[in-house]
């Protein structure tokens, strides 16, 4: 089962706004990276002292501050003070148990998302929380562990042949969310292939393994659907917002994103319907196989048990059994038995049991 619910007990009883990291600790070190770019410059740097970031944030250029490894509550608190983040925002970043959502504050937009990881090996799907704070000229991302998903964005911006460098922080935020949505398509593509494989075999192979695969895919789809719904809400809320941080020029991209989330939901629902149909058919196939087995058993029993009775009769030790004395008694019995077999076979052939 995909984990629908993370360890929650640690939080219970704490006052709201308490900064405690909830969730697995995915990496040992917390790392801060800064990507800073404007129309004509691009800079990327690992930061050790948080104060070094202040200058970037104060400049007019677009700054992307990445924190990888959020278990260091102290560091999250410092970033919070640096950018004037609300205490409840910091709490949400640390409690990796959030439902994806977007919240509009005066100075920034706070977005919580799930990054979906698909594990090809055991066909399981996991997620980690990605928190985004989008300000006028900066984006701060809080990531649970190091992953290469955003590398293409960095490269695209660095070597931007198009005007991407010029589009500001809200476009950067869009690009990050776009990667997450694209990842859904990739996950669905791989699932889709796996389901097609099952589809080609499950009529004939009614083994428990087929059922197991079907179940895994069903569980995966339930998980994916549960995770995409709030994401869709996030995107459509961003689309309808009237915050000054999301500029008009970014709306067409968000509209595109919205279309994609709708498409993902529809694909998931279609696959769910298909899996339900497959399961129903699979159950029929199992029953059909049983029928086949039972037919074999019944045919064998029906043919041989009466014959055995005949041999039993002539195996009795009665003194006066005239047939036993007949010269062709034995052959007659064999002939009768042969014709019984033949008759039965014809009968079963007609009943289409053979």
């Amino acid at each position: 089962m995909p984990k629908f619910i993370k360890k929650y007990s640690k939080k219970v009883g704490l006052p709201p706004g308490s900064l405690v990291h909830i969730g697995e600790k995915h990496s040992d070190i917390s790392k801060i990276t800064v990507v800073d770019y404007s129309k004509d410059h691009y800079e990327e740097k690992n930061v050790t002292a948080l104060e070094d970031c202040r200058s970037y944030l104060e400049k007019n250029s677009t700054t992307w501050l990445r924190l990888t490894g959020i278990h260091d509550t102290q560091l999250v608190q410092s970033i919070g003070s640096l950018c004037n983040l609300h205490q409840l925002v910091l709490e949400d970043i640390l409690h990796t148990n959030q439902r994806p959502k977007v919240e509009f504050y005066k100075e920034y937009v706070f977005i919580v998302l799930w990054l979906i990881y698909y594990n090809e090996d055991n066909d399981s799907t996991k997620y980690e929380q990605l928190s985004l704070v989008v300000g006028k000229n900066f984006v701060i991302t809080f990531e649970e562990r190091e992953h290469g998903l955003f590398d293409t964005i960095k490269e695209r911006i660095e070597h931007s042949q198009w005007r991407e460098k010029d589009l500001g922080s809200d476009y950067l935020a869009y690009a990050l969310v776009d990667v997450i949505v694209d990842n859904y398509f990739l996950v669905l593509e791989s699932k889709s292939n796996k389901i097609e494989e099952i589809e080609q075999s499950f009529f004939d192979d009614t083994s428990a393994a087929s059922a197991r695969s079907l179940y895994k895919q069903k569980a995966n789809m339930i998980f994916l659907k549960k995770s995409i719904w709030p994401l869709r809400e996030v995107v459509s809320t961003l689309l309808r917002n009237d915050s000054t941080i999301i500029k008009e020029s970014t709306l067409p991209y968000l509209r595109d994103l919205n279309d994609h989330t709708v498409q993902i939901i529809e694909i998931i629902e279609s696959i769910q319907d298909l899996l339900t149909s497959m399961l129903n058919i699979y159950q029929s196939a199992v029953s059909n196989k049983m029928n086949t087995i039972m037919k074999v058993l019944t045919v064998i029993t029906t043919i041989f048990v009466p014959l055995t009775l005949i041999t039993g009769i002539y195996g009795m030790n009665f003194k006066y059994m005239p047939e036993l004395e007949w010269k062709y008694g034995y052959l007659t019995v064999l002939a009768i038995m042969g014709s019984i077999i033949f008759g039965m076979l014809v009968y079963f052939k007609r009943k289409k049991w053979l």
Copy 2:
């Protein structure tokens, strides 16, 4: 399984607006055809140099520009510049992974649709993307491969006895969408016939083949439903629009189209309900058949096993077994066995097992 999702991986990581063709390459050559008509003239021409089209577009007559084979990104780009199409529109035309949609731009309306192809041979249904750009006096269609579906429209316009020649580009767009919707009816008609065939046999023929056909029809319906929903949205959006390109005179036709899409959805849902019922009944039929088989087995076993025991008893080699010496021992035993058979048959008859 109908393909719900096309190869997506190629796109991931590209900036929005990148012109890369995504999808299968269905034909080798890209072909441009121009159909130009007004109240009193009709012209049809294959175009080699795109510049030749400019004169048609500038004239007041209605121009239908058809591009067949969209893998030639260069050509699509040229058409884009010729008609001032937005970069994101061109991207959507090339990424044949779009959900059907309609977008209103100042100078034109952009519509993405699915052409449903039904393959009678393997009872499978596929689709290709059809993109339409509808301008004041022109329609551009981007088609993935050559198909004859729009031939009747060309003929109708050419030999128009009615005022179709006079109705402009929005009517032409309607006529194209109408063909797509009509095609759904044809597909549903053929499915409907196939389902009726299954319906007449599946009570008696509980073979795996019945289940397989049921599954195929279910998968088909899931696919059709998934594809008609966004089409309906497209039609009803066109109906409610306030773009100047869709003229009032075309609205009654669009209303008709809307009625048809609603009807198609209702037919599909009814067929889905019916298929679900059929599958349930099919499962009962399989179980019923099993009961029949088991009854045969049980009747045979119940009759012959006790008889075999009797023969076994008188086949024992005890020295002192008085019955063996009796003159009519053998006949008595045969008579007893006969009456057991008779009694059992009466019993099973009464229990309605025979």
Copy 3:
């Protein structure tokens, strides 16, 4: 399967507004009848020349023009010109493939409905299209074949003791639709009785026939539900309209009609739920019967096979088998076998298998 979709192929490729009759030809002759009445007169006449109707239509009295047999496209066209009907209306009348709907024109209201026919013999339900054109002082009905359903209305008006003669064309239209809705109740009543019959037997009679009846009722309900939904839309649209043709005084009757359609939908849905429950229980009943059969088989096998082994043992031809020489060997074995049977019976009794 009830036919959800009629022969559609004939239409494909035709321009909108083409007058081609689509559907089965139900009768050979097209017949026109005129019923004309006002507060103090009533007249009924078969018309041969359509021109004879003009005088009726021009009078102030309420005129009901009935066309039975709509395959005569020429006749439909003439009626259309007589009353100034739109070309698309005439097309809808002839294409008997319409979803029930209501359309408001300036001079008249156009209503398409389904007349449900229930065939008691093969428990199937069919429909034919009924098109109504309701004008200020006339109602035109286009009926596919002769049926007696509207006779009571004619009689009621003719011998009207109440003010029905006085209520005008919209009331007449209401009365016609009311007959259709009442017919649903009659159909549901007959189904309801049939289902009750099945209900009383299907626990015990797990034959395939039960499943077949259940399936038939399910298919019937799917069909009825599909047909009543658009009818309800028609009625509630009529209720909310602001056309001058539907007078205020008719609204209470339409409200009543609306209540009835809602009630029909609720009854159908309840029956569907009930049928689903019955099918589930039926499947359990089949499985339960199987258990009963298997118990018999197992009991018989378990009792007789060990006994047969014993007789087998003493049927062996070993030279040195001391028991065979014992005087009471045979009786001892019989006694042992008897006590095995007794023990087994007690055991199965306790396990509640008998």
Copy 4:
């Protein structure tokens, strides 16, 4: 099956507003009772001549006019004239086939409800129609038969220690509806107990009786749900109305009633979900039992059939069978058979079949 639909055929073909009693005749005599009360007086009387009621209605006190037995259309008509009721209202009172509804007229509010009767004996649920006409200072109830459900209300008013006597006709109407709603809770309580009983036994007792009880409860719930939905609509319509007959002071009570109907719907839906789960589990339990039976059969067969073969071999009459001559041949064979039994038992133990 609970009756979802009453005999309808009698009505078909009648003009609207015809006063014909539809439904079973539940009692022979129609009885009129008058309860009249105000702050400081209470009077209860059986009325024979309807005219006697007029004085009560004209007084300022609250008058409750009860008609028990509505088959006397003449009487209903007289009451109608006495209180100026609309012809369609009288029709609805007599056609006991109404969906619960509320209609606001100028002088009165007309409410149709269902009184749910639960029959403990055959665990079935029936309903009868209760029509209420609520005027400024009177309530008229039309009841199909005598039932004691409203006795507590009469007593409460008579011995009112609270201000109930003072609250007028709309409060009285509320109190009557409240009794109906309370009755639902009682019905649900009894069902709930029955379901709990089934729940405790159906894992072990997979007999057909369990399935039958489950089915009955399912059918009951479908019926209850179907009947409570329109009741809820009635209550919430009363709550939102702006009729002068429902006074502000009664709204808190209606709000309470509304809460209760919502609660009833939620309880019914939860029970339905539960019953569906129980049915699914029941089906598994039946299959599981089958597995158990089959295991017994297979174990017995697998152990004894090979042994029987061995005895068969040494029962053959070949001349040269060396083993037969061995001194310990018999014992050896017995030993071998014993060890086969032992080995098999161990094997099945390991496979957890025993």
Copy 5:
């Protein structure tokens, strides 16, 4: 089955506003505790005479009055008079059969909630009613029995390092509801673990115990879902209210609460979907196991029954059976039997039955 409905019968027939305790009596003594705090003081006291509370309520500090054990209707009535509570409010507090709801009165807000108790031992979930009256500077809680759930709140307030002491009565109410919501997460966490356990075993362990656990979890989820829906309504009503008692500063906390209830609903629905899938797969697994058993039976029968026939043949006592005289007759028969076994084994191996 979780109890969806409490003993209701006691109430039926009573006038609204009657103070009768409905529900189980959970504790013998009713206890009143007062917690009073403001920015700089904190006091906690057990109260014996209710009058002692008046001074606290009149002070400006926040007062939390707890009544544990609500069966003492006299005491509830006194608290009601002390704080001017409406008679219907007191009735709702005593009738522990309420659907969670919130009602706004002029001087206070009345909230009814369910406290969910999870019993780890028998994996059952029960609830008790918690009624809250939130006034300007006080909160009164009516609890059915003593439970430790609110202890952390008391401690948090007493040792408040944050400004919780300063936030007033509406924040206190929020904190209490928050505990209830947090409890849902804990319950879901424990269920989630249990379901994961089942998930790991139910493919192999198709025993009735698995089905029983699945059923229990399903019933639990139905109960949880039924209880969380009205809770969500309560929270979102509080969020949208315009009462002066809920201050703006509390809204962010309520928003957070709202997010959590939505998340809980989504988790429950996902788990329900998963359980349905598991049940379906479980049913297949049971059928699969049956197939395995049947295969064993069929293989054994198919191999041994024909062999037994052969031994039967040569066990017959015919005088003229030439084979019996052959020297190697016995060995030949043994060899034939051996090759039949071998052939069968190969055959079944190929059919993948072994």
